[in-house]
């Protein structure tokens, strides 16, 4: 089965935790991946983020669960890069 090398997510989350805290939490969840978060839009109660995860074998299920635990929700997967596992 292919391994996810990169994935770009469209995420909606409340203002707290901050993107710094969210990036640290996601990175703690999957030590193998690099997390990049860009704020796309800020509303009264929420923020829309573009979360880019890159690494050797990203565990998307774990990452999704962590985002949900932090109060966020994944609206869409905008980009994905998969390679065959060795």
């Amino acid at each position: 089965m292919g391994q996810i090398k990169k994935v770009v997510l469209d995420v909606l989350k409340p203002h707290k935790p901050t993107i710094l805290e969210m990036a640290s939490s996601l990175s703690d969840e999957d030590h193998k991946c690099t997390v990049n978060i860009k704020v796309a839009e800020v509303d009264e109660h929420t923020e829309t983020l573009v979360v880019t995860l890159s690494g050797k074998n990203i565990d998307l299920e774990k990452i999704s669960a962590k985002i949900a635990e932090l109060g966020g929700s994944i609206h869409s997967i905008d980009e994905v890069e998969v390679s065959l596992g060795s």
């Binding site: 909606l12 707290k16 109660h45």
Partner: protein, 192 residues
Amino acid sequence: MFSQLRILLHITRSHGIIRRYFVVNGFDGALTMLGLCMGFYFTDQVQISVVIHACVGAAIALGMSGVSSAYISESAEKKKELLELEQAMIGSLEESHYGRAVRWVPIVIAFVNGAAPFLISVLIIIPLWLHDWRPDLVTLPLESAIVCAFVLVFLLGMFLGRISETFWLWSGIKTLLIALITALLIFLVSHF
């Protein structure tokens, strides 16, 4: 468990509320005990055991009032905040930190709100207990309890000064002045 609690308090921005409740209700406890002790001080021939029972009763009532009122109001507030956030997120947040915060943060706030006046009252009652246990340990129990109340009010003021990053002594003196005015009012009411 404590790190989880810290996260819940952080995302709901509850540190400030807890600090505020601690000072407000702690101040309530100190002034109530000051009022009781001053009242008994101006009443001649009152047994210390009677004073202790009255003060302990008031301390328990303040504690219970603090716990119940804070729990009811904070629980309603947090549920309202969650509902607003869920509407903005267009989805349930029950299983997230926010959902857990609605269940746990009101309990923590209620505990602090009840514990602050209770513990401060207990500290003020200590000289009365010591006198009741061994009269030679504290020879002037009511006077000692009143001084204790003034000291605690001053310390609460100092704490407020540290939070607001103003001069601690001035902040302590301000709260001490309020306690002195309270004492003066009790004195005037007792004598006229």
